[in-house]
């Protein structure tokens, strides 16, 4: 008898652990192998637990850098990015990244410290209502009220973040919960019970039949491929479907890489800075098959002119996206891979698209993306992107910031492979590109990662150069430096009669010296000859590098659909 009691006591002792210890344990169970974070008072117990039971931790130099790095990591790896920040300012510094991940459907689990339960609601030191703040910009959020709930909440958070339409989940942990000792009952076999969350993966058979009928009978079908194809890892199925039925395809900004950039059936990107061919195809098509895109307004332009002749088939894992902006004839709630598999399993007559493809190919030649290079004027940003493409064979992981350089990269870096394109689409977050490249490089240590950034956006998060220095990450940072807030300047030129209000930046740091300060090789180039040489050199090493690539200041991104206009009303179709 006595022996038994003792045995029981001792196992109890073994299992009694602090909330923080259990958290780290739970993260390990989830297979987390990297955390992006920044410590502070409210997460000290968690960092202490991490010290004793390490998981690789990347200390960003600003919480925003941490979360964008986690986004980059999630985008290229398909895994859930994990972030830790302290309460109050640590948590609020994450807000931009959380909103970004929400709009771009990136799986993140974000842990924030919180002041102790006993003082929540008293405006305690470093208290911020991060649950209230992030409620509209998270897929879900939790505040841990009882330490016993912690393992369950962590499990649910990862499940919610990574399934269905992925998104950020925030878990707010009061400090006393982290320190509280408790007997963690192992819940290995306990399933997840979320009666209010059951994403539909498999398509409805009848809807598939309807889609087949619509597609079979079409003369001018067109596929619009979004990021959903990449999330579902359905690029092989997509290619097979497109080729089998000879249906042309265009991509959204975030969908790039879903199909080979040089594929003969690919029309280029659609939308505000999409190709003329893709946008007019949307206007002319009789069936538009949207797979995993959300008909964002930067894609559709004026809805009144969007796909006026088309029956819309919309495949999306999120039912709320179907019919939200564009009336839909055939709604299919499903994972893109499952839906495509089902469409491939069914044998049906391919539509006769010979004439349609012929006319699209004429457009592709006639209205190809173009720019006018002029040796005297200096480097055009488009040339720089093409140079990067050439040096990396279209195989690099490319991240961008937000602005003109982002659009030029989307237009001119034709991706051979999926999951190599990292950009902030929905929120359009300046400061995203460079830290995202760090996360991408950590996810894919053996691949070439290039961050194409603007001179302005880079300065929003450049403190993360420390991470290149610290981990010797061979990221190549290319600043397309037009000494202006280029995209803002372009709009001011086009819509505000060249009144360049606060968009020309006369004072900049010496980026080469800046790089050197972080012990990174820095270069500055002003001509294409220099660029050819320097880029080749910089890209040949396995070390970080920064290139200040001076480009023509007044170059504009074309073609363009002006805001409020339809996709049929593009300007600058001939590149000017």
């Amino acid at each position: 008898m006595e022996v038994n009691v003792k045995a029981k006591e001792s196992t109890n002792k073994e299992q009694t652990r602090s909330g923080a210890d259990v958290l780290i344990q739970s993260l390990k169970k989830q297979g987390v192998d990297i955390i992006f974070g920044y410590p502070g008072g409210a997460v000290l117990p968690i960092y202490d637990a991490l010290y004793k039971n390490p998981i690789r931790h990347v200390l960003a130099r600003h919480e925003q850098g941490a979360i964008h790095a986690a986004e980059g990591y999630a985008r290229v790896s398909g895994k859930t990015g994990v972030v830790i920040a302290t309460s109050g300012p640590g948590a609020t510094n994450l807000v931009t990244g959380i909103a970004d991940a929400m709009l771009d459907s990136l799986p993140l689990v974000v842990f924030t410290g919180q002041v102790a339960s006993s003082v929540i609601g008293t405006d305690a030191f470093q208290e911020a209502d991060i649950i209230g703040i992030t409620q509209p910009i998270t897929k879900h959020n939790y505040q841990v009220k009882n330490v016993e709930d912690l393992p369950r909440i962590v499990k649910e958070a990862f499940y919610i973040a990574s399934t269905g339409r992925p998104g950020p989940v925030l878990v707010d942990i009061p400090k006393d919960i982290s320190t509280q000792m408790f007997l963690s009952v192992t819940d290995e076999n306990e399933g997840i019970h979320l009666p209010g969350y059951q994403p539909t993966k498999n398509p409805n058979y009848l809807q598939i039949q309807k889609a087949i009928k619509v597609i079979s009978n079409s003369k001018k079908p067109l596929i619009l491929g979004g990021a959903g194809i990449l999330t579902a890892k359905a690029t092989r199925e997509l290619k097979e479907f497109v080729e089998r039925h000879q249906i042309p395809i265009t991509n959204t900004l975030l969908g790039l890489g879903g199909i080979d950039g040089d594929h003969p059936l690919f029309l280029g990107m659609a939308g505000m800075h999409g190709t003329y061919t893709a946008n007019t195809a949307i206007c002319d098509c009789d069936v538009l098959i949207n797979i995993g895109a959300r008909f964002d307004d930067r894609l559709t332009g004026n809805l009144a002119h969007f796909a006026p002749n088309a029956k819309v088939v919309h495949i999306d894992i999120d039912p709320a996206e179907i019919g939200k902006n564009v009336p839909t004839a055939v709604p299919i709630v499903a994972d893109a891979k499952e839906a495509l598999r089902e469409l491939l399993d069914q044998s049906f007559d391919s539509p006769d698209t010979v004439d349609w493809l012929t006319s699209l190919n004429v457009n592709k030649k006639e209205y190809a993306l173009r720019y006018k290079a002029d040796k005297e004027k200096g480097i055009l940003p488009q040339q720089a992107v093409e140079l990067i493409h050439r040096l990396t064979n279209g195989d690099a992981v490319v991240t961008t910031d937000v602005g003109q350089h982002q659009m030029w990269t989307a237009q001119y870096y034709r991706f051979n492979n999926p999951h190599n394109w990292v950009t902030s689409g929905g929120l359009g977050t300046m400061g995203f590109g460079f830290p995202a490249a760090i996360g991408a490089q950590l996810a894919k240590p053996h691949e070439r990662v290039v961050a194409v950034v603007g001179d302005a956006g880079f300065q929003m998060t450049l403190q993360e150069l420390s991470l290149l220095q610290e981990f010797r990450l061979p990221v190549k940072v290319v600043i397309l430096n037009n000494q202006s807030l280029g995209m803002v300047r372009q709009w001011q030129q086009t819509f505000y009669e060249e009144r360049y209000s606060q968009s020309l930046v006369h004072v900049q740091p010496d980026f080469v010296k800046l790089a050197q300060a972080y012990e990174i090789q820095g270069y500055k180039v002003e001509t294409m000859e220099e660029a050819e040489k320097v880029f080749a050199e910089a890209f040949s090493t396995n070390e970080p590098a920064l290139i200040d690539c001076r480009v023509v200041q007044l170059e504009n991104v074309y073609p363009m659909v002006a805001p409020g206009k339809g996709l049929n009303e593009m300007i600058g179709v001939r590149g000017e």
Binding site: K139, K145, L194, G196, A320, P327
Partner: protein, 170 residues
């Protein structure tokens, strides 16, 4: 148009905030909202009346609500046969000269007197919102000193088969 939406939600802290926050974010106007426990432990029911422009908007609202992790069930019961009740407390100026007149008006509404003083009477009236509106309109001339309404609570009737030639009460 007005729609009556019922949702079953997990009775988690913040769930009310989540739902109203969502309505605000998506630019829906809440006319009334009522929340309370249900027969199932841990579950609450919310009934709200919203003003929407068109079918597409209402569909979007239902889908967005459904997306919330803590929301178990969402129903637009506007076009269903349903029972719907609201409660109002109405404090009316009842000087002796008009008191009996007011009481005779009140009677058909089966309103009950729950507080009384020399110059004012508080009535409790329950029913569908239209009935409450009518009651308030009739009391107005006498002077309403205070008024509070609970918002609509509703669910669908057991028997849906009989096609009610439905005159929307809202």
């Amino acid at each position: 148009m007005k729609r009556i939406i019922t949702t079953t939600v997990i009775n988690q802290s913040g769930v009310l905030n989540r739902v109203t926050g969502l309505l605000m974010k998506r630019q829906f106007n809440i006319e009334s909202i009522s929340v309370g426990h249900t027969e199932q432990p841990g579950m609450s029911k919310m009934t709200f009346v919203v003003n929407v422009e068109d079918e597409r908007k209402i569909e979007q609202l239902l889908k967005q609500l459904q997306k919330q992790i803590d929301v178990i069930k969402v129903n637009d019961i506007t076009d269903k046969a349903m029972v719907m009740r609201e409660l109002a407390l109405v404090k009316v100026a009842t000087i002796p000269a008009v008191r009996s007149e007011i009481y005779s008006i009140v009677e058909p509404f089966r309103a009950t007197v729950i507080d009384m003083s020399k110059s004012a009477t508080t009535f409790q009236v329950t029913g569908d919102p239209e009935k409450i509106e009518a009651f308030i309109d009739l009391m107005k001339p006498y002077g309403i000193k205070e008024l509070t309404r609970t918002g609509v609570s509703a669910f669908v009737r057991e028997n849906q088969k009989v096609p009610t030639n439905h005159v929307s009460i809202l």
